[in-house]
């Protein structure tokens, strides 16, 4: 004897389930445990995790660090924006601000860098084109991620968090050069 969904229920409704229901609950429960286990497992075995090294930072301090970083490793300029080529393994600073990513980065394929992301005004979104890697850039927070570019090529940073009316103009640039070609690229690339 079944009730409808709009009938009040008389007596005890805690009754045994059908076999099919029990089987489905078991499958769903096990699946939920798999879903849960995948995340810690990827931290142990996977190459892509969003943890990073995270600190609070005053926007002015972050701007200062980025300027020092640019002064130390600048190798050229493009569209009025400094091109910076830090040595492999170093700390790399990237500022999101209305409406640009500063500076342009030149990185080596296969090398690991610590990429510090922050904003000096509102929220921005770091989207690596064409690879579709995304991070939130929040003012007041230094989000330092260990990144290893896999292959050489031209990359763009598209802002994908709304940051005002110039949001769609906010495009930055990352250049990844082959590991052995760094010296060649150093020479006079200031187009």
């Amino acid at each position: 004897m079944y009730e409808s969904g709009i009938a009040s229920v008389q007596g005890v409704w805690w009754k045994p389930a059908h076999r099919a229901e029990k089987v489905w609950i078991a499958i769903a429960f096990i699946w939920c445990m798999v879903l849960f286990a995948m995340m810690p497992l990827w931290h142990l075995r996977g190459g892509q995790n969003p943890t990073g090294i995270r600190h609070r930072v005053e926007p002015a301090d972050f701007r200062e660090r980025t300027n020092e970083f640019i002064a130390a490793y600048q190798v050229g300029e493009d569209a009025g924006m400094p091109i910076v080529e830090p040595p492999p393994g170093s700390d790399v600073y990237l500022i999101g601000m209305m409406w640009q990513w500063r500076p342009i980065l030149r990185l080596q394929a296969g090398a690991e860098y610590t990429l510090h992301l922050s904003s000096v005004d509102v929220n921005h979104g770091f989207n690596l084109y064409p690879f579709n890697v995304n991070f939130q850039v929040v003012p007041g927070y230094d989000y330092a991620l260990k990144v290893t570019p896999t292959e050489a090529g031209e990359f763009r940073i598209v802002c994908n968090e709304f940051c005002g009316v110039g949001h769609h103009l906010m495009v930055g640039r990352i250049e990844v050069v082959p590991a052995d070609a760094t010296a060649a690229a150093d020479v006079g690339d200031d187009r």
Binding site: E3, S4, S8, C32, V122, Q136, C159, F162, L169
Partner: protein, 590 residues
Amino acid sequence: MNAPDAGPGTTTESATGRIAGLFRTCPTTGLAVHRSADRLIKAHAVAATVALLVGGIAALLVLLTRWQAIHLLDPVWFYRILTVHGMNMLIFFIIFFEMAVLMFAGPVLLNSRVPAPKVAWSGFGLMVLGALLVEWTMWTGQADVLFTSYVPLRATPNFYLGIILFAVGALVTTGVFFASLVVAKRERTYEGSVPLVTFGAITAGIIAVITLLHGAAIYIPTWLWSMDLMPVDPQIYRLVWWALGHSSQQINVAAMVSIWYLLATLTVGGVVVNQKISRTAFVLYILFISMASAHHLLVDPGFGAAWKVWNTSYFMYMAVLASMLHGFTVPAGVEMGMRLRGYTQGFFGWLRRAPWGDPGFSSLVFSVVVFGFVGGITGVTFGTEQINIIAHNTLRIPGHFHATVVSGTAMAFMGVTYYVIPLIFRKQIAFYPLAKIQPYLFSIGMLIFSLAMTFAGTFGIPRRHWDISFSGAPFDVQYSPAVDIIIAVMAIGGLMGIVGGAIYIVVTVWSVFFGKPLPAGEEAKYAHSIPPGIINRPWLEIPDTDEEPEAPGKLGQLPGTAILVGIFFVAFVTYYFANWALLSFVWEVG
């Protein structure tokens, strides 16, 4: 419904002896309907429809701008209208409608009065006032901050104040709903335990309180911040705001699932296969679903791995488990209801013989299927800590939530409206043939739209972006030419959905304001203008037997449902692991 055998025109026991005039007896269901409940449901439903209209016009404008072939609005108006679209759809339309659902599932289903109707009306008044204030600030360009209004983007203080007023109003109405439960119990307007639909609505009400309190916790400080009276940290804002923003979608889920059970009952006389399982699943929602704020913070700098994993999984996916249970029990209730009535042929005879021309039934099916297959699967996948790296802020995200909130929640709300109009407004459905095709147009359109949008997002196309051709940007960005085609498909699906939405508004507004009244107890004469469920009243004729109906094969009593959830499970596993594979191809990061 304490008297399931009450026929047309009979008065239920609880309604007798009450002051005449305050109640009417529903000639279709036999329920005693308090006139205040009647009027409150109508007012909230009308307000919801107005918001849907405004949000729908905004949807059209946003769509025609993102479709780069047309690119209608300039950037200022694009972001302004996008703000209008978000606020009207996700807050005003949905919450007004949910308040109507609460007034139905509480006082009406329990045969009870609305306690303190004046308080309920003041809640409604606050909601309207708040909504108008927000509309004014948005349309006059004082709040171009999008739906999320991430601090330190700044809107005028009245924008935040409007939202606060709206939230307080909704809280008041929810309070009246809870009071009606107490009154119903005390006045013995029903016997035993509340119906499952009411139980689900109580869950929605509890989640609404949790949500609205988070809303107060973030909007009051932000309001003060906007007047330079206190600081607000951008990361804390995102944390607390999403405890409002995501949890409010969980009110939708709970309300929608309740409506699934309601529509299954009204359209085909679906039964509750097991009260224990359905109710436990609702309780799991209350316990864990509010943790979903984390879904939006997975690639944020403010939180560590353990926090992200624990919260994004809602305590080891217990709220996902709840949805997977409802995903079984709702079709199972339909299957069992149909089999009990003799539709025992094969695995899917019950589904073939179901009333596909009843807009309530087709809405139910589309809502369950698209919510589950597209919205649910993409949601869990994108909400996985690491997979979020390849989903965050791309079109994959709005692709996901248009499948949940539009194809799922809005479709269910539309479907139940075709029953609310004859049952509560006592009107025939105007342009009924159009109403019959409306769920098909709307759902298939929105399905195409959200699939195309999700797919475009895998190319990294950003959401909330005026110009993905990046003309004028310092460095060129050229997406694959395939993206143009996918966006065009998305636009065509979206236009179909908008036509479906427009038909819904025309049909409901015309029915309510200019429609022909439905004389009491003579529904059968109007078979060409109301859903068949109202005439057949299948919920009154659940066969009184302890014998399980016939079912073929070795899959148990519910073989059709077992096959359907099997297909769902395979799709889920496939999509989930395909995304891990996609993730493994990108730069190493950590």
